[in-house]
């Protein structure tokens, strides 16, 4: 009964999404207040039914209702209760429902936090969000019903894929989806602006906090995914350039370009058309990612069962959403370049370079991801490109970004005094060069990219600290750091930490596969590893061989690690569970290989310096995004926009004044 109610709730949500899409947009174009007023209640109603549907599926998992096909495929009696929660989004149907739930949460947040926006604008924004929800609900109902019954019910289910049985999975998909579904809000604001013809800069200011929050969640989601892959997949790698990862990384790259271009458009009025386009692209790439992951077009090489109907549906929806938006863009986008002029040496130029680099990086990742498909299409065979291509190209594109990023805050808008910026940044450069020389002297074996990493990270990190100090000294108390600026400082500092983590880990990790006899000790990377043998261990739904390895340095014990090789009861699948002694400056990572003769085992041992910094950098960037979004300016403007032009924005240059409820221009 409960699953049927869940399905019924989905259908009601679909109808409400249709109402949320059609009526408010119609109302906004006709100036009909009654139709406009439908928007918010429709959002609330849809959210209620989507939450009910999601609750029904969760209930089916908690109750182990194996008459529901999706539950039977992704859970079994031995599965601990907390993984039954995450099993809800462990496969296609349920994760789609999660996608819809998160879209609804964003819509509710927009509806609730937009009291100060003009009614017509919010009606269009919620209408666009309704259209997206409608598409996804229809997709779920027609092709991927999570509530489909398998009658008669099974006595026991299969199992949740063991690599998904991990605390990381409970958090990773919700955070990731919150990120890239969140770009739908910036997208909706852009489309609303195009539909309404109000292409001044007000919409950008309203969209900025939402974009920053979505970007912050996406950053967190990607970092969590990377961390999860690192300790679950048992390879010690943190990024694989796999199509599924790329699917989340492309929106991040475009999103990064977008938050910067929004800043330019809002403050200077320039890059207007570009910001519109990036808003469309960021969300389009989220949709494209959804398509790539679920259609089987690329993952078919990995032989997941896929249904061409699903692929066709998402492709049609993608065509409608993105094609439609780009068509509206072509018709409505500002015909003349607006904004204040700027000289070559200016913050505007630097942000242009930033946008260029990040857009190129996204295009590069897209090209690499689609390469097998292109190979087929031109008859060259299914060739895929791997980490060497991505790694090299990405480093190449990010190097200018890293070199220029410290100048960003020091350069003024319109026209910068490069000598002053250079004088201010000289200590950072000296520090970077000295530190790289010192690193070479201390660790002579450190390869070039390690040195480049140390230098780059210090250049970026010290550069941003110098800027923070300068603000601290020169600005009056209370006006030193706006949240927007503080967010920027945090995020740029995070970038420095990330660069340090990546470059040092890649350059100096020690990886070895060794044969250990019982009680044998070996020295790797300056640490002593003593193998204490392997014993049997029993988990809730698996059996395991558990090894014990004592790590010490010069006789001082550091950690005792217990890597496992698990055999899961349900699907008979095996899974290696590595064990890690984490540390800020190095991780010790141990995974169990195969049993050899006489109680000896092969054991994989990694010593990875600075690997945590990769995710730590991600966390800083995330906090930066949240902090910037909290700037009161973004919320205060709407009232001001009604009164008159904000001094920092060039509304007066533009034919359309910022007035609410203008209807079609």
């Amino acid at each position: 009964m409960i699953p049927e109610l869940g399905q019924f709730a989905l259908i009601l949500a679909l109808l409400l999404a249709a109402a949320q899409c059609v009526l408010p947009i119609l109302g906004a174009s006709r100036g009909n207040a009654a139709l406009i007023a439908v928007a918010r209640p429709a959002v609330a109603g849809q959210a209620v039914f989507v939450v009910l549907a999601f609750g029904a599926l969760t209930y089916a998992f908690l109750q182990q209702d194996f008459s529901v096909a999706y539950v039977a495929q992704n859970s079994n009696l031995a599965l601990p209760w907390y993984y039954r929660f995450s099993a809800v989004w462990g496969a296609h149907e349920g994760s789609l429902l999660l996608w819809i739930l998160i879209l609804n949460l964003w819509s509710v947040a927009v509806a609730a936090c937009s009291r100060h926006l003009p009614d017509a604008v919010i009606a269009r924004v919620l209408g666009v969000l309704g259209f997206i929800a409608f598409g996804f609900l229809l997709f779920t109902i027609l092709t991927s019903n999570p509530f489909a019954r398998h009658l008669p019910g099974l006595a026991d289910g299969a199992d949740l894929n063991p690599i998904l049985q991990d605390p990381g999975l409970i958090m990773h998909p919700p955070m990731l989806y919150t990120g890239y579904v969140g770009f739908s809000v910036a997208f909706a604001f852009a489309i609303a602006a195009l539909l309404g013809g109000e292409l001044d800069v007000a919409w950008v200011r309203w969209a900025r906090p939402w974009t920053n929050v979505a970007w912050a969640f996406l950053t967190f989601g990607i970092a969590l995914g990377s961390w999860w892959a690192y300790y679950v997949l048992g390879w010690g790698g943190w990024w694989f350039w796999d199509p599924v990862e790329n699917a989340s990384f492309m929106p991040w790259l475009v999103g990064t370009a977008l938050i910067h271009s929004q800043a330019v458009t809002e403050k200077r009025g320039s890059f207007r058309a570009w910001t519109l386009l990036l808003s469309i692209f960021a969300f389009s790439l989220s949709l494209l990612g959804t398509f790539l992951v679920r259609s089987g077009v690329l993952t078919s090489v990995h032989a997941f069962a896929s249904d061409p109907k699903r692929g066709l549906f998402i492709l049609a929806f993608l065509g409608a959403v993105v094609g439609g938006s780009l068509l509206i863009y072509a018709i409505r986008a500002p015909k003349v370049a607006g904004g204040k002029p700027f000289k070559f040496l200016s913050r505007d130029t630097l942000l242009l370079v930033n946008n260029l680099m990040f857009a190129c990086a996204a295009a590069m990742v897209l090209l690499g991801t689609l390469y097998p498909l292109i190979g087929d299409a031109i008859g060259a065979g299914r060739i895929s490109v791997g980490p060497p291509y991505f790694g090299f190209m990405f480093a190449l594109l990010m190097l200018p970004v890293a070199c220029l990023v410290p100048f960003g805050p020091f350069f003024r808008w319109a026209s910068a005094d490069w000598r002053a910026a250079w004088r201010a940044l000289r200590p950072a450069l000296i520090l970077a060069v000295v530190a790289a020389a010192a690193a070479k002297w201390m660790v002579p074996s450190l390869p070039l990219r390690g040195l480049v990493g140390v230098a780059t990270a210090l250049w970026v990190g010290a550069g941003i600290i110098l800027y923070a100090l300068m603000r601290w000294r020169s600005a009056p108390r209370g006006r030193r750091f706006t949240p927007e600026m503080f967010g920027m400082i945090l995020a740029h500092f995070g970038f420095a930490i990330f660069v340090a983590g990546v470059m040092i880990t890649e350059a100096s990790s020690v990886e070895s596969d060794l044969r250990f006899a019982r009680d044998e000790t070996k020295t790797i990377g300056g640490l002593d590893f003593r193998f204490r043998g392997v014993e049997h261990a029993q988990g809730p739904n698996y059996q395991a061989d558990q090894g014990t390895i004592e790590v010490s340095r010069d006789g001082r014990p550091i950690a005792t690690l217990s890597p496992q090789k698990r055999q899961y009861v349900g699907g008979g699948m095996a899974q290696t569970k590595s064990d890690i002694d984490p540390g800020l400056f190095r991780d010790v990572y141990v995974a169990l290989g195969e049993p050899l003769q006489d109680g000896a085992w092969s054991v994989r041992v990694y010593v990875k310096p600075f690997v945590r910094w990769i995710w730590l950098g991600g966390l800083f960037m995330m906090f930066g995004g949240f902090t910037a979004a909290a700037d009161r300016r973004f919320r205060a403007v709407a009232e001001r926009a009604g009164i008159g032009a904000d001094a920092s924005t060039p509304e007066q240059h533009h034919p359309h004044p910022t007035l609410p409820l203008k209807g079609r221009a």
């Binding site: 259609s295 065509g319 094609g323 292109i374 596969d513 699907g571």
Partner: protein, 186 residues
């Protein structure tokens, strides 16, 4: 106006490409491409062993007993999915199972086998993928059933599932052992 249509044009090309992808996938049932090799002698090969790189194994040495040649690689996620099926369902069939480590670093392959276990009777390496080209391998995993006379009898592209082991592989193996029995009796 024209240059504002460029993004739309690029996007339409992209949709065309993705549509092609779907079409390609539905019209190329990846696991059921008839191999021109079936019914013909397996291509000749002489490849180094993974665990004793100075020794080699050739197709000629394998004549006399039917065997399964499983193409895999440590870089191939589906091979990981297929692995428990090899161990749990194919190995018990008792047929000789040869692993062909395809386009892979031997160190990675060893690590992979250590991590998941070794279902193979012997593993040979095809580092540059030449033998793979002779066999017409276009994705991993791929499995060939070769009879005692060195003739390819069956080919599976993609991972085995319990269903196609039951419906396809097992009857083929029975046929082979049946033939052998007939030959052996007179």
């Amino acid at each position: 106006m024209i240059h504002r249509l460029i993004p739309l044009g690029v996007f339409i090309a992209l949709v065309g490409l993705l549509g092609f992808g779907i079409w390609w996938n539905t019209h190329h049932e990846m696991t059921e491409v008839p191999s021109p090799l079936i019914g013909k002698p397996a291509p000749e090969f002489t490849l180094p062993l993974l665990y004793e790189a100075d020794k080699t194994l050739s197709g000629k040495e394998l004549l006399g007993t039917p065997y399964l040649l499983n193409v895999f690689g440590s870089w191939c996620p589906t091979c990981q999915y297929e692995h428990p099926i090899l161990t749990g369902q194919i190995k018990p069939l008792g047929i000789k199972l040869i692993g062909l480590d395809w386009k892979d670093e031997p160190a990675d392959a060893k690590r992979w086998i250590e991590q998941f276990g070794n279902p193979y009777d012997v593993v040979i390496t095809d580092r540059d993928g030449r033998a793979g080209i002779d066999f017409g391998v276009y994705m991993a995993p791929e499995t060939f059933l070769v009879d005692a006379q060195g003739v390819v009898r069956y080919k599976r592209i993609g991972m085995f599932t319990p269903e196609n082991i039951r419906d396809e592989l097992l009857p083929k193996i029975k046929e082979l052992t049946g033939n052998n029995a007939k030959k052996g009796s007179p």
